[in-house]
């Protein structure tokens, strides 16, 4: 066993770090550091900077524009992105529909969509969940009926992150209602400007509106937008879920956030007048979360090493999702506790860049409650943690 990365891996890490330092725009850095809202343009600018270096899609094969990295390099890259105040890469194009298209799509689809994903010219969203199909996604009902050269789509999707920004949606639709549910699902690419599409924002309990309902009313989609074969949509969706494992643990980002909590705790007064970080109870909580994060970090490294040694990656990724999200949520709890009663003021304006008024209480307090509330979603989305445990139980433990 050897914890050291190779010389070339270390050099690679330095290269990535330098790139981020030199190419992350200051205004974006500032927003991420201060938990301010990011606009679509912020995400696009950063993604284009990465793409210019050929680094936007580290998981893609070289033939489609990937940089040809080893698994370790991909890990290092994600680690550095998380450790610096960079915006998350929007996963829908690069990590989700892109791999499905280059693996199962037609030549025309590859030619048409892949470069536009890399150039961040098409912004994608994911049409999966429905009001009646959450954990039981296979029971989805949005219907696509063949009519000449088109599918006619009717129904609705919910929890569609960033649909209001999207140019395209990859959508799971039911093309055959008469077979077993999983076998009647198809993977359809839908232009969000199509007539018949209505987008309704869903306000979340923190006051944000990143998610939406999307309604389809006789939306005509060209048949050439079907990916692969009819009835194979569920297979492609499962492929997609198993495909992107780097980043779900979010270790580097959590480390950065934990460092942020410590800074807050140094600035906050504790009950005894000294800094909160000297309060034994708070300090013990910090230590606990940091230890849990270390366990997650090394678990991810072991899985990585195992995969690099040729052992097929398995459903252990679910462990990373469960623990990763639990730790993220624990960190939001620490921030909430740190700011005490200054979590109460509701100042949504303070969470947008360019707000110039004096904060109510310390400047970092305004985001504490909204972020805590918003992050309750992490144990629900991407397959709830309960579902993740079912997957592990079945696939790893045979239960």
């Amino acid at each position: 066993m050897d914890l050291a990365f190779s010389d070339s891996d270390r050099a690679f890490r330095d290269e990535v770090r330098a790139f981020i330092r030199d190419n992350l725009p200051d205004d974006i850095r500032d927003k991420v550091e201060n938990d301010l809202h990011l606009e679509k343009d912020d995400y696009v600018r950063w993604q284009r900077a990465l793409a210019a270096r050929g680094w936007l899609a580290p998981n893609w094969p070289v033939e489609f524009g990937g940089p040809g990295w080893t698994l370790t390099q991909r890990y290092i890259f994600q680690d550095e992105l998380g450790a610096a105040p960079t915006p998350r890469i929007i996963p829908f194009g690069v990590s989700m529909v892109g791999p499905v298209i280059y693996t199962f799509g037609s030549d025309e689809q590859k030619r048409r969509y892949l470069p536009r994903i890399l150039a961040s010219e098409d912004f994608w969203c994911q049409g999966y969940s429905e009001p009646g199909a959450g954990s039981d996604l296979a029971s989805l009902k949005t219907r696509a009926v063949r009519d000449g050269d088109h599918y006619v789509v009717n129904g609705g999707k919910t929890w569609t992150t960033m649909a209001h920004w999207a140019d395209m949606m990859f959508c799971l639709v039911r093309t055959d209602p008469d077979v077993k549910p999983q076998e009647g699902i198809s993977f359809l690419l839908i232009d969000m400007r199509s007539p018949g599409i209505t987008i309704r924002p869903i306000v979340t309990i923190d006051g944000g509106a990143e998610i939406n309902e999307v309604f389809f009313d006789d939306v005509r989609v060209p048949c050439t937008n079907l990916v692969g074969d009819e009835g194979k949509g569920w297979t492609y969706a499962k492929f997609l879920l198993g495909h992107e494992r780097f980043g779900i643990a979010g270790v580097a980002r959590s480390k950065r956030q934990l460092a942020g909590v410590k800074e807050i705790a140094r600035a906050e007064a504790g009950d005894d007048g000294g800094p909160l970080i000297d309060d034994p109870a708070f300090r013990a909580k910090l230590a606990e979360v940091e230890i849990e994060l270390t366990a997650l970090e090394y678990t991810e490294l072991r899985f990585l090493a195992s995969e690099e040694a040729g052992r097929a990656p398995g459903p252990e990724a679910s462990i990373l999702k469960i623990r990763g999200t639990e730790i993220q949520q624990a960190i939001t709890e620490l921030v909430l506790e740190a700011v005490a009663y200054y979590a109460n003021p509701f100042v949504p304006e303070a969470l947008a860049a360019g707000w110039n008024e004096a904060p109510i209480g310390p400047p970092y307090a305004a985001a504490a409650a909204p972020i805590y509330f918003n992050w309750r979603k992490a144990s629900i989305y991407g397959g709830s943690n309960e579902i993740q445990k079912n997957i592990i139980a079945k696939m790893v433990l045979g239960l």
Binding site: T158, I205, L336, Y342, N344, P345
Partner: protein, 377 residues
């Protein structure tokens, strides 16, 4: 051993619950919370008419002569409806302080008007750097011209914007964190030199930063003994803890009932999700935490009249329980509702937010663990 309510208390409970059920549904609550003032004056007038404002205040001041149990009954029902009307700050904190420690003149001037819904109060004790240390008072009260001059800043004062009078803790002697040397003052909200920065809170209420810049008060504005206010403040906060414990229990019960119902009606994988043992057990855990919270709420309510040390221990124990139960029930109610639990549209998230903020009031779990330990060990 008796945990039952008297006939009058049961009638009070029924009438507050009826108000919440008939006139304070979630949609109404949403409208009220979004309004300018954040509560309805008509409701406050109705509370006065129904005798709720004076329910725990002495008969000599126009109240009904009830006590902590009456407060508990009212606050629990309010918690069920996420009622925003500032009963806690005005009646429990402000009114309680004046009733227990006001001079005859102060009681006469404030309490009948409070009971009648004509005067509202607030209690300004916390400061920007004080955290949960009630003795940490930097706001100064200097003797001047036979009265006092107040200078300083108070943090997150609930109900300050609608208050006619504010009870303010300020230091008349000693160092910033000394237990001795703190005095309470009954200050007119319109006093020159008193400024506010008003804001909404994340759970739909109203609070303010209160700045005192050369606020002059007469000597008879002192509430209770000069320099000796700390035990009075602690007592008021412990009463506040008992009240929010009841409010939290009401909110927890709504979340549990809602979640329980959802588990029975939401179908996935061809069956109600409540069929899954993991969720059954989770719901049982929610029930258990709720029962414990209710028990601790009863306990602290019954112990408010004990010695200060016993009362403080009871309040700290209850606050720890409420914080833990509230967090668990709030988080799990959201989790078990899945995606819709995160939406603003559904009431679940709003109850979750209120329970979360209750933990930040009057000392969080860590603070009260420490206080309990220092009293108990």
């Amino acid at each position: 051993m008796d945990f039952s309510l008297t006939t009058e208390q049961q009638l009070l409970k029924d009438s507050v619950e009826r108000f919440v059920e008939e006139d304070y549904d979630f949609r109404t609550r949403r409208e009220i919370a979004a309004s300018d003032e954040g509560f309805r004056r008509e409701n406050w007038a109705r509370f006065a008419e129904l005798g709720w404002l004076g329910a725990a205040l002495p008969e000599s001041c126009g109240g009904s002569g009830g006590g902590p149990v009456e407060t508990m009954v009212i606050m629990e029902a309010f918690g069920r409806g996420l009622v925003t009307e500032p009963y806690l700050s005005s009646v429990v904190l402000g009114g309680g302080l004046v009733a227990r420690h006001g001079s005859a003149a102060q009681r006469e001037a404030v309490l009948p008007a409070l009971v009648e819904g004509e005067t509202m109060l607030a209690f300004a004790y916390a400061e920007p750097r004080s955290r949960y240390d009630l003795a940490h008072v930097a706001t100064r009260a200097a003797r001047e011209d036979g009265g006092y001059r107040l200078d300083g800043r108070k943090a997150v004062v609930f109900g300050a914007a609608s208050a006619d009078r504010i009870v303010v803790s300020a230091r008349t002697a000693g160092g910033e964190r000394d237990g001795a040397g703190i005095t309470l003052f009954l200050v007119d909200a319109t006093a020159p030199g008193l400024a506010r920065r008003d804001y909404r809170t994340v759970d739909g209420l109203r609070a303010s930063e209160v700045m005192l810049d050369g606020v002059r008060v007469a000597a008879d504005a002192v509430l209770g003994e000069p320099d000796g206010a700390l035990p009075v403040i602690e007592e008021a906060i412990d009463h506040g803890i008992a009240a929010v414990a009841a409010e939290a229990v009401g909110a927890m019960q709504v979340l549990n009932d809602t979640t329980n119902e959802y588990l029975k009606t939401r179908r996935q994988f061809g069956r109600p999700i409540g069929d899954f043992q993991v969720l059954k057990h989770r719901m049982v855990d929610m029930l258990t935490r709720y029962e414990e919270a209710r028990s601790m709420c009863c306990m602290v309510t019954l112990k408010l009249g004990e010695t200060p040390a016993e009362r403080a221990k009871a309040a700290s124990a209850a606050k720890v329980q409420i914080g833990r139960s509230g967090r668990f029930i709030g988080q799990q109610a959201v989790q078990l509702h899945g995606g819709i639990g995160i939406t603003d549209e559904l009431h679940v998230g709003h109850y979750f937010k209120r329970l979360t903020m209750i933990d930040t009031l009057f000392g969080n779990v860590d603070h009260h663990l420490r206080r309990f330990a220092s009293l108990a060990c």
